[in-house]
Every structure is written in structure tokens, then in C-alpha cells.
């Protein structure tokens, strides 16, 4: 074991341990680390965006090529109006840039999202997932049992899941029973999501512990 002599490694390690201390209970060390993180992030983002976005894309062109880039005054004006949100008297002015942003977002997004999230998905389930899949084996067509089963499950999950969110008919009798199957599929998907979430959080823990053990404490395996 040889503890690192690097100041940056020490700062990282101490902040990591301070954040981990929350697992025992809330404490001032955790609060300090949390505030440092929030403050440093906000400061970093402001400086980064000023130097990489506002300066090269707005202020410099306005200063050097005003005759050809005068139209940049429009986003500058909208941006300044957004800051009016901080004033009680003129806060309403911030609605104009917000309306502009929401309008652009909706106009750009609606057709694309309908295509990618509805039409393409429906098309995939309807045309690209046959319930009986055939594969060729030594010149003979055979049923691909695994893929057929998986397509049938997928089809059932889509139909029953959609039926669960169909509120124009009371969930009784056949409709109720089918919707109940939909709930089961939903529960299974929530379980899968939870599993993925656990995996993600453990990955973060592993990364931090590898840093503490290898880079900070200098224990080499």
C-alpha cells in the first residue's frame, strides 16, 4: 500500500468519503461536500457556457460582423427577456421567450415523435414480428420456437398493456381479465427497470471504490 501524494487525488478521495458518510446518517461533512458540488457545478456551467456559447456564437459575431449578423439581436433580446422572470413587476415579459421556445420545440418535435414513437413502433409490432417465425435449416423451413415464443409474448404484452390504459370500457369480465394480464406485464417491466437501476447504482459504487482502493490507497491487484 502506498497512499497517493497527489493533492487532486486527496481532494477527490475526501469528498467521496464525505458523500459516502451520508449512508451512516446526515452530517455536516456531507453537507459541505454537497454544497461544494452544487457551487462548483453552477460556476463551471456558467463559465463554460459563457466562453463556449455566448462569446463565440453571440457576442463576438455581434461585435465584429454586425452588418451581416444583426439578427442575433433577436435571441439576445429573447434571452434578456427571460431574465425578467426575476422581477415581480416585469416577470410577465419572460412569457414571450418561453412561448417561442415551447412553440419551436412542439413544432419540431410533434411530427418526428409521432413518426418514431408511434408509427415506427406500431409498424414493428404489426409487420416485423410474425407470431410464427420460420427459419431455413438444410433446405427445409422450420419453426423458430424461441423467436416465435418471444414475438407472441411481445404481442400479448402490447395488446394487454394497451387495454389496461383503455378507460372507455369498464374493466370487468373479459376486458378486466385481459387488463389484469397487462398489469402483470407492466409489473415485470417495472421489475426489469428496478434491476437496471440497481445495476447502475452499483456500477457507480464500484467506480468510486476502485478509485479509493487503487488510486488513493495505492493497493495494486
Amino acid at each position: 500500500m502506498s497512499i497517493s501524494m497527489s493533492i487532486s487525488v486527496w481532494v477527490s478521495a475526501l469528498l467521496t468519503l464525505a458523500i459516502f458518510s451520508f449512508l451512516i446518517k446526515d452530517n455536516p461533512l456531507y453537507k459541505i461536500a454537497e454544497h461544494i458540488f452544487v457551487g462548483a457545478s453552477a460556476g463551471y456551467w456558467f463559465v463554460f457556457n459563457f466562453h463556449n456559447v455566448l462569446l463565440p456564437d453571440l457576442f463576438k459575431p455581434l461585435g465584429t460582423e454586425f452588418t451581416s449578423k444583426w439578427f442575433l439581436l433577436i435571441p439576445l433580446g429573447l434571452g434578456l427577456l427571460m431574465l425578467m422572470k426575476m422581477s415581480r413587476q416585469y416577470g410577465w415579459l419572460a412569457r414571450f421567450p418561453l412561448a417561442f421556445t415551447v412553440g419551436i420545440g412542439a413544432g419540431e418535435g410533434i411530427t418526428s415523435i409521432i413518426k418514431s414513437d408511434i408509427i415506427s413502433q406500431l409498424s414493428a409490432v404489426t409487420f416485423e414480428m410474425p407470431l410464427i417465425m420460420l427459419t431455413e435449416n438444410m433446405g427445409k423451413m422450420q419453426i423458430n420456437v424461441f423467436n416465435s415464443f418471444s414475438n407472441i409474448v411481445y404481442f400479448l404484452a402490447v395488446v394487454t398493456g394497451l387495454l389496461y390504459f383503455f378507460f372507455s370500457a369498464e374493466h370487468k369480465g373479459m376486458v378486466g381479465k385481459t387488463a389484469r394480464i397487462g398489469i402483470w406485464f407492466l409489473m415485470i417491466s417495472f421489475g426489469a427497470s428496478f434491476g437496471f437501476t440497481v445495476m447502475a447504482r452499483i456500477s457507480l459504487l464500484i467506480n468510486r471504490l476502485q478509485f479509493l482502493i487503487e488510486d488513493f490507497l495505492g493497493i495494486v491487484i
Binding site: 418514431s116 437501476t197 490507497l217 493497493i219
Partner: protein, 343 residues
């Protein structure tokens, strides 16, 4: 006993998970990693690219997700440069391009002892961590036919390379001979692109018009040979996004694939993976790597056995076993309690 288990302090569970993660790291155990169909689809899509193809790598994440996404990025860049696939990099997140720069030039890329020896003889700078001496940076040098370990200012001569040491180079670039990755020809850094979906729509209309200048020299991107024949996003052979939120993989699928039909592959954090699985079924996504497991599988499938993903999978498996055991115990306690109440 039942009551104790029912009111078990959560910190005891944390302690078990902590020990479960630390043990395999310290013990250095490695479980074998096998590729899943999801990862196979990424490998298949990459293998369809011919030498000289251009891939747009978009780093749409920040350091908070680098535990999962950085190993994917390293393995992807290594694969691309090994197979002569040209890379244009950019990021929809401010920190993304910096993380690509790190992957190219400063991240630790572990290599085997044999590869270390080979790279050192080719004149690459190879670093070493002898057992128990990780705290200080040391690197290898060949002097008068002897291998010398250089430790800060003092020079300590050793007869041969250590078997039980860790060898690494800094950045993917160091794995290749000088001149293998020519800036502007094999690799171009376009930097941070502000606007997420809007940027992708701009790329659909015109790649040089959207990217404008490169991040290194601030020259128009169309002045570099790598951009020859690239006008719209359709002319790019593949978009590979490393994504941990919005804008990221969803925007690339909706606007990139949806508007131009460009092939999109992605690496995502495990938390967000289930949301994008339907895009795989509909083939709007050509392939997806999910979380650290996806990174490990990709490393294994592309022959990068020393990758960070593979190293992380053993502690991951230990932690999962512990969590599963606690879930089983919790359910048993619930069932036993219910049974005793009914009695």
C-alpha cells in the same frame, strides 16, 4: 429473530454490499463475461463498416455517468482505430468532448505485459504500477538494452518487467504507432454543440453547416480530408451516441434516424436502458450497450480483455448476489409473518 430481521438497520445491508464490492476488487477475481444479443447487434453493426468509413461519436454525458459510459467510449475508440474506421467526435453535453479528449489522451488504458513491452520498443510511453506502489507515477524506459523504471526524478533499474505489475498507457492514441491516427484524416474533434435536437436537425440538413469549425484549430470542418464526401447526416456511416439523458440517444433516434435514416447505435446508462429497448425491436436503433454490463460485453466481444468494464463485472455480480439474498430474506420474513398471523 423474525423481529430483528423485520427491523434490520439499512446500514447493515449497505455494509454487506460494501464488503461484497471491496472483496473482489482487492482479491482481483475475474468472472468470465459473455456477450448478449443486444451487444452482439452493436458488434454486428460495427463489423458492417468498411475501412475508411466515418462514424460520428457523440459524447452526450458528463462525469456523473463516466463509470458506465467511459469504458464503452474507450473500447469503441480502440475498435474504430484498430479497424481503420475514421472518427468525428462531438458532444451534445458540455463536458462530453472533454471526456472524449480524456479517452484519446489521458485515461488509463490497461494493457498486458507483452503489449507493454511491444509498445515500449515502438517508442510509446508505457506506465507501470508495481505491486504496492500505486501512489506514485512510474513509467518504463529502455536504456542500453535494459528496462528502466523511471520514478519521478530518481531512476531505478530493473532487470525485467514485473509479472504482477499493472501496465497502462495514457489514452487510446498511445496504443497506436505515431501517425496512425492523423488529425483531420482519421480523427476530428468538433467539440460541444449546443442545442440537442436542433443541432441534430441541422446535421440532417448539412454536417459542415452544423459543426462549422473543429475544436482544436477552429478551422472549417470541410477543410479536413475526413469530411470529403460528407454533406448531410445521411453521408455518415454510423452515429454512435454515449448517452445518459436528454439530449442524447432519444434525440438521435427521433431526429437523426427518423429524418435521415442514418444508422444509430448507442451506449446508455443502465437506468435509462429499458426506455430505449423498443427502438431496438423496431430497428430504429441498430444496437445498444446497456450500463457497465454492456461495456464489459462489448470489451469481451471486441477482444479488449483488460477493459474497465470487465474488471467491474465481478464486484457487480457479488453485489447483485447480496442484494438478491436480502430480497429473498425480506420476502421470507413477510411470508412467515403472514403465515403466523393466519394461524
Amino acid at each position: 429473530m423474525l423481529n430483528y430481521l423485520k427491523t434490520l438497520d439499512r446500514r447493515i445491508i449497505y455494509l454487506f454490499v460494501l464488503v461484497g464490492v471491496i472483496l473482489p476488487i482487492v482479491g482481483g477475481f475475474l468472472f468470465p463475461v459473455q456477450s448478449s444479443p443486444m451487444t452482439d447487434s452493436v458488434v454486428k453493426a460495427l463489423k458492417e463498416l468498411e475501412p475508411g468509413s466515418v462514424i460520428l461519436v457523440s459524447a452526450d454525458f458528463d462525469p456523473g455517468s463516466q463509470a458506465e459510459l467511459q469504458p464503452m467510449l474507450l473500447a469503441l475508440l480502440k475498435y474504430c482505430f484498430e479497424n481503420e474506421i475514421n472518427v468525428v467526435s462531438m458532444g451534445l453535453w458540455p463536458m462530453g468532448p472533454t471526456l472524449i479528449d480524456n479517452a484519446m489522451d489521458s485515461d488509463k488504458v490497461r494493457i498486458s505485459k507483452d503489449r507493454a513491452e511491444q509498445l515500449m520498443l515502438e517508442g510509446r510511453k508505457v506506465y507501470i504500477i508495481p505491486k504496492g506502489e500505486a501512489g506514485t507515477e512510474q513509467y518504463l524506459e529502455e536504456r542500453d538494452g535494459k528496462i528502466v523504471v523511471v520514478k519521478e526524478t530518481e531512476r531505478e533499474e530493473v532487470g525485467d518487467l514485473f509479472d504482477d505489475a499493472i501496465y497502462y498507457v495514457k489514452g487510446i492514441r498511445s496504443l497506436f504507432p505515431e501517425g496512425h491516427i492523423k488529425y483531420g484524416e482519421n480523427y476530428l474533434a468538433a467539440g460541444y454543440q449546443v442545442g440537442a435536437g436542433v443541432v441534430i436537425l441541422d446535421l440532417v440538413a448539412s454536417v459542415p453547416g452544423a459543426l462549422k469549425t473543429d475544436a482544436l484549430n477552429s478551422k472549417p470542418v470541410e477543410s479536413y480530408p475526413i469530411m470529403n464526401g460528407i454533406d448531410t447526416l445521411k453521408d455518415i456511416d454510423m452515429v454512435f451516441t454515449l448517452s445518459s439523458g436528454s439530449g442524447g440517444i432519444k434525440e438521435w433516434v427521433i431526429y437523426g434516424n427518423g429524418r435521415s435514416g442514418v444508422k444509430v447505435c448507442g451506449g446508455v446508462t443502465a437506468v435509462s436502458a429499458p426506455e430505449f429497448l423498443p427502438y431496438l425491436v423496431s430497428r430504429q436503433l441498430a444496437g445498444m450497450l446497456a450500463g457497465l454490463a454492456g461495456a464489459a460485453e462489448f470489451e469481451a466481444a471486441t477482444g479488449y480483455e483488460m477493459g474497465e468494464g470487465i474488471r467491474g463485472m465481478t464486484p457487480q455480480s457479488f453485489a447483485h448476489i447480496i442484494i438478491i439474498l436480502f430480497i429473498i430474506i425480506g420476502n421470507l420474513v413477510f411470508l412467515v409473518e403472514k403465515y403466523s398471523e393466519n394461524k
